[in-house]
């Protein structure tokens, strides 16, 4: 796959300091094992309603971070702040160690952040290739370069081992739920993204299809991407996540390696924001 031109992208972003020296920064980022994305002291309110309080969150490369929380805990607002849909009021976002302002969805995708929303945003009447390239079609002589796009789409799907579709020229309407999710993920991965955010990826799926999507998430991790999965389903979370962050009433109350949690403790954090008894765990990391 020939990567789409991205060289100019980082320059046009508002990197607050040290803008010229991106390569040194990424070298340092690799050396120091800095998380790909760091959120620090992020606040967001809508009128009088404080949706996010002092959020601290790390999303390291090559790891799946599960974001758990009850309805209204602020998961979606936090996701949208990272994806550039909302602007945070205070706080900073660091990308590969550099402070950045993500002002629009376009900025996020220039950095390499792609979001797979729950409704997937696929056009049913278009085929898989057409959906994967929607809005970023490749041209030759001002006409669509279908051969080039089909080859690239095929390679991406093969690299994710999405092999169950009969033809990549079939309309998305004829795909199963798991296949649609796979296409949406492949669409996100296509653009050399480094962070993929997935909103409830297994919510509407059956057992076999859920397994298919979870395998796909593991493959993204194995390719070195940072993955953030928003999920209510603790089975999926424990199956796939390397790290778990729990939100409660607009705060990230805990984040740590999956091994230091069990179901009971995650549920307790989700419902009460802390561990009442017995657990003895810290309520705030970092």
């Amino acid at each position: 796959m020939t990567p789409p031109p991205r060289a100019a992208a980082s320059a046009s972003l508002s990197v607050v300091d040290n803008a010229g020296d991106m390569s040194a920064a990424s070298a340092e980022h690799v050396a120091s094992n800095e998380p790909l994305l760091k959120v620090r002291e992020l606040d967001k309110h809508f009128g009088p309603v404080q949706a996010l309080y002092h959020i601290n969150l790390d999303l390291p490369s090559g790891q799946v971070t599960a974001l758990c929380g009850d309805n209204g805990a602020g998961k979606s607002v936090l996701t949208k702040c990272i994806a550039g849909i909302y602007q945070p009021d205070h706080g900073q976002v660091f990308w590969e160690g550099q402070p950045v302002h993500i002002r629009a969805a376009r900025d996020a995708s220039r950095l390499g952040i792609e979001t797979v929303y729950q409704d997937l945003a696929l056009a049913d009447n278009l085929d898989i290739v057409q959906n994967m390239f929607l809005g970023r079609e490749r041209l030759r002589n001002r006409l669509l370069d279908e051969d080039n796009m089909e080859r690239a789409a095929k390679e991406t799907l093969a690299s994710l081992r999405v092999t169950t579709v009969r033809s990549i020229r079939q309309p998305v309407a004829s795909l199963s739920g798991g296949q649609r999710q796979s296409v949406a993920v492949a669409k996100a991965v296509m653009w050399n993204s480094k962070l993929v955010i997935m909103d409830e990826p297994t919510a509407a799926l059956g057992v076999v299809q859920t397994k298919m999507v979870l395998d796909l998430i593991k493959r993204l991790r194995d390719r070195g991407l940072a993955v953030m999965v928003i999920s209510h389903n603790l089975n999926d979370v424990f199956e796939v996540a390397d790290r778990i962050a729990v939100m409660y009433l607009g705060r990230v109350v805990v984040q740590d390696q999956t091994s230091s949690f069990d179901r009971q403790s995650v549920v307790e954090y989700m419902t009460t924001g802390g561990l009442g008894r017995s657990g003895g765990r810290r309520t705030q990391e970092s």
Binding site: Y117, A121, D124, Q170, G177, V208
Partner: protein
Amino acid sequence: MADVPKRADLAEVPPEQAPDLTAAPEAIQAEVPPELVAQTLGEYVRAYAARIRAGESGVLPVIAAMLAIVIVFEVVSPNHLFLSAGNLVNLFQQSAVFMVLAMAEGFALILGEIDLSIGFVGALGAAVTVQLVQPQTTNWPWPAAVAAGLLVATVFGLIQGTLITRLRIPSFIVTLAGYLIANGLFLQVLLLGPFSGYPNLAGFSDNLKVIYNLMWGSIDPTVSWIATAVVVLGLGLLIYLSDNRRRRSGLVAPPTSLTLIKIGLIAVVAVVVVLICNTNRANIGTLEGVPWVIPIVLAVLGVWTVLLQRTRYGRYVYAIGGNPEAARRAGINLSIVRTVAFGLCSFTAGIGMLLYASLLNGMSNNVQGGQYVLYAVAAAVIGGTSLFGGRGKPLHGVLGGLVIGGIYNGMFLVGLSFQWEYIVTGLVLLGAVTIDSLSRRGSASGSVTRV
């Protein structure tokens, strides 16, 4: 998928192409277009049959409708006049107006909208053209007059599109208002000049003749043959080379036999049409050759097919028709794409009604602009364009226009009056819409069972 237990009925499928076990195999087979999965002609025929059984009939209903029209009218028309060369050329000429108007309406339908105004907006543009070429008054050269007429229609469409997208008024209402306004403006334009509301194309001015010849002029038979050969060979070579290239690089492509059949079909249709047109169809003297209107319609078909199927703009039109939210998130500017589509719709309608003016040899207040919109919608839907958005091609307008033209022409031959023509056309439209919504329901329920 390797650790998923195999079901017995899938055991013979090699594991590397094992289908998604969560999907019903027969439903998948029915919904995937056969040319995408078939490796041989036999497989193609079987896949096609499965699709028809599942209600995805494609262009089959329109072909069946055409056959029915031909058989019925050939049998009942006096002296079996229906299939005579003279009548068939006449039928092409009448259908041309429906075809171009249906291609115009296609832009709105693919977006999931509707444009009720195209009959009178096109008529307004055509009236402007017919007025401007009149030697007694303005006497504009015909290219300028045609451009001015098409510009008027296009601007009207762009204004409607702007109101629909910026003010978010439903297209049904905006174009209903546009229908009335264009009707009034059209009648007003007819009153200009010393023609008592009936500017016509009779006269010795070259500019008048060119407009008249759009519909009534013919190409020399020899030239017709040469041009047909060039077009068919060129198109055939293009299709063959492109399919071949895709096959060799392992991309999705139909089997060679299917490519050849497709090219053969195009050649046969072209040869038959030219043969019919090159027959002397005059009662006295000679009248032969392909009418100019046929290459004009084919040019509109070709340009709009390339625009819709091979450019970014066309891709966005389909994406908006299929899922506007997905298009918006992909960074597509919905307002601009929609507004331009309404402009293109009115522009094409301008071409269609200019052909109508040529057919009528002028413009008059008898032009049934409202009637023609309904015929245009009917033709597009009969051809296979969906009223619900996202599906449709310019070719559908041409096929549907031929059906509507066939009914119109046949009923006239038989001597049935207009009321019967309306009733029959209405019934055909109802049938086409029923097929459209049934196939839509069928595929929708199919998807739901597999989510």
